[in-house]
Amino acid sequence: MTLPLSGRIFIANDNICLIFKRSYKYIMYATKQPSLRINQADLQCKEGCGFYGNADWDGYCSKCYRNHMEQARRKKLKQAANAQSGHQGESSKSQVSGFTKFEEKKRQQTDKKTKYFKSLPVFKKTSSAKDIGKPEKYAGLRQSNDPDADKLKTEFLSKYKYLGDEIRRDFLRFSDSFIRQILEDTNVKPVDELAEIAQKRYNVYNTRINSYHLYQQVSAEVRAELEDFLEKYTMTALYTSLFCPSSTNDEDKDLSIQDRIRKLTWVNAHHLDCCISETSLEVRDLVYTAINDLLGMDSVKAPQEKLQCVVKCCRSVVEVLQHCQGGPVSADEFLPALIFVVLKANPARLKSNILYVTRFCKESRLMQGEAGYYFTNLCCAVSFIENLTAESLNMPEQEFQSYMSGEMTTVSAWDSALVACEGMHQLCEHLSLLNNLNERNISIQEEKNKLMEEMNALKEDIKRKVSSVLESTPLVIKPRKSISVTDEKPSGGSLLSNIAIATHNSENIDKTKLTLDLTPCIKFPCIIEDNIEEDNVLKPSLSADLLSPFEQSFEGTTPDDNSILGLSKVNYDIDLSDLSAENSMAEALTPEKRFSPTPSYTPDPFSPVGTTCTITQQPLIPSSVPLQMTVQKEPQQIKDDFVAPFLEDLTRETAEETLLDKIEATPTINLPPPINPIKTEYSGFSKQGWKIPSIPCNTGDYSSLSSQPGTSKQDE
């Protein structure tokens, strides 16, 4: 047994020797590189052929490098053939170790001797400019385009910045030569040999890191970290070429095990004598976690990361078992559970992953520690699945066969649990959705009720306010009555008519109407009484509206207007107070004008010939003497006097507007004769107001309306 083994060892040691030689040369070359600027000869091929060398080719030119490699290979083959005895291998090994030591020493010496230290400050100067970019330039001879590897590299450079350029450069140099070597051999050598190379490289770095003076200051932990990082970095970079390589039948194995697992779907925990209770929800969740962890193995690249996934998975399995049975978990229970998880997970490329880890993970990691233990268990599980027989499941051969052929199908608890779980899951989701909807519905109901209450309250409030306003209005009417009493002087029937208007107004519960009717004159006292803010707001706007058209209407008018305009400006402030006392008049005005304007105006534009005109002129004449009187009596009358365009303006305006305008107009004109005369004037208005209710009775009065009361009476 020992003979062929030692032969292998011999090759291995020779490999190490070669690696060392190569890396040594490479290092030599690289250490000299900073001095390139100084000595151009260093750029040339080491063979001295006159061509330029390249760091990629260990300092040789392309041709010499090829020759050199060929020679090395031949030499190695010859040595392998010559290796006959373990003793020989042993001796050569010791030679090798001696040689490596010698090389190491020599290198250190040369390091001192050559311009290494001289060039060091030079390098440092240049490197200080771009700290990370520099090492890449020197050691970064990119063969791998793996973004993950590049990421790791930058991570390395930043993480171990404190170690200084030397170590980092050494590390990268080593790893890059490692990567390069493997890449070179990928298509030449079988994967097992590559694995050997990788393992040797790990060991070489281990020796190097423990003996090389450069690493003397580095603590043991960091050394271990660096070793791990070397493995991680190189394997990530080489992942594509080393994972499931085309030279092997790993892929077929993957497919076969996948197929195998698929055929074994009927195997349940009971078959495996495993205590996983498939129906428990928590247990199922934990199993899912374990499965996820196991599936994650395929998505990471470095062997150690893959191992970590296995460890995580196994820990979840342990948790599952602890959940199921409690107490410490023995391997007797653990392994079946793991097999169950693997069967249910059916991970992609399972075999490739396992083989990759076995080949390229550092030996020590697999041989010991928790990761090693769990990985061994996983390998066991896989091999169990591969070699699963009826016997291993403790079932009759026939039953096993019928299961495998698909003749017999069991509704496995797991599957049914999955189905049930799906159903249950949906049910739960729907229930929660319904609950949610129900809650929302209730809240909406509550909101609705609240809104209803609010609305009711508002309604009540409004009712109350309206009633209060209504209450206030009769109060307003009372002074009007007194006015109407004054009005009675000219006409006895006016009182009745006023009352009728008042009632008419009170009947108008419609708020808007009220406001409209009341605003110009009555409202203001009301406001004061009831403190209704809204009305306060309304007041100025309305008054402004009222004012503006009026002014416009007057603008185009005769010189008489000047006095009127001047008055209007002044009025505006005073109007309200004045009017407040004489609401009744306003009330009388408004309804009256509603009804009256159209008939009264219409005749005017057509012809001044009408009887109205003749009559209106009569008041005009006195108006010139007691100005106020005539104007107030009827703006229409004034308009009659005016030119046609003015009337047209008025007619164009809506009934309400005109009304309002006039209402304002009347007070404006009222102003100059403050108190006593006004009443007399109002009486004039009141007469008109009086006439409005009388309209239903005497339709033909309109013409007479404009005229003096006396005439109207006569008409009646």
């Binding site: 291995a12 393992q199 423990n210 043991a220 410490p328 392994l335 080949r359 928790e370």
Partner: protein, 224 residues
């Protein structure tokens, strides 16, 4: 301070109390100081004997007959084997014998064998006499202990004995996977030469095939 790292594999038929024995020891000795992964079937603990620190890695194995084929994966590279049987169950004793044979067939490195009869608290139901077991143990060059994991009798002794033997082993023989570190100044120097470790590593790697191991094929046949 010298540090010896050893791997101990626990073998035995299902139900002989492998895990109980191990957890008994771990819990009793280490639960106060350091909490190892209790509940898992893998344990790692440190035993200090004199000026030597022994790091023990205890690998529990599944004892069922159907997993027997996988056992080589576990006892590969192990430095010591704890062979447990139940004194009230003669089958377990016979099965333990089978383990010993398998180990002798497959393992070529020095491996400490430690036969342990468990459940001595049930001595009324004893099926395997102490003499028989002792005789057998001597015949295979192993030591024999009797313990009770339930009542915690002699469990600690077994592990201490293993630790002692491992130290002895590390002193006399370098050609095995037992790793010995000597703390010199501030950095560890591997006492067993790195080359040797590499060598065994290489050998193992070549033969590390799940199929071959799982099927219980001997490593020797694979190599030649």
């Amino acid at each position: 301070m010298r540090t010896v790292c050893g791997k101990v594999v626990v073998l035995g038929l299902q139900g002989v109390g492998k895990t109980t024995t191990v957890t008994r020891y771990i819990q009793k000795t280490f639960i106060q100081t350091k909490t190892p992964t209790i509940g898992a079937s893998f344990f790692s603990c440190k035993v200090e004997i004199g000026d030597v620190c022994v790091k023990l890695q205890i690998w529990d194995t599944a004892g069922q007959e159907r997993f027997k084929a996988m056992a080589p994966m576990f006892y590969r590279n192990a430095n010591a084997a704890l062979l447990l049987f139940d004194i009230t169950n003669y089958d377990s004793f016979e099965s333990m014998k089978g383990w010993v044979q398998e180990l002798r067939r497959n393992v070529f490195e020095t491996m400490l064998l430690c036969v342990v009869g468990n459940k001595i608290d049930l001595h009324d139901m004893r099926k395997v006499s102490k003499d028989e077991a002792l005789q057998y143990a001597n015949s295979i060059g192993a030591t024999y202990h009797e313990v009770s994991a339930k009542t915690d009798q002699g469990v600690g002794l077994v592990f201490e004995f293993i630790a002692h033997e491992l130290i002895k082993l590390s002193g006399e023989d370098l050609n095995h996977t037992l790793k010995v570190y000597e703390n010199v100044e501030d950095h560890e120097v591997n006492k067993s030469s790195e080359q040797l470790a590499t060598e065994t590593g290489v050998v193992e790697n070549v033969n590390l095939s799940i199929d071959s191991i799982a099927h219980g094929k001997s490593i020797r046949s694979k190599c030649c």
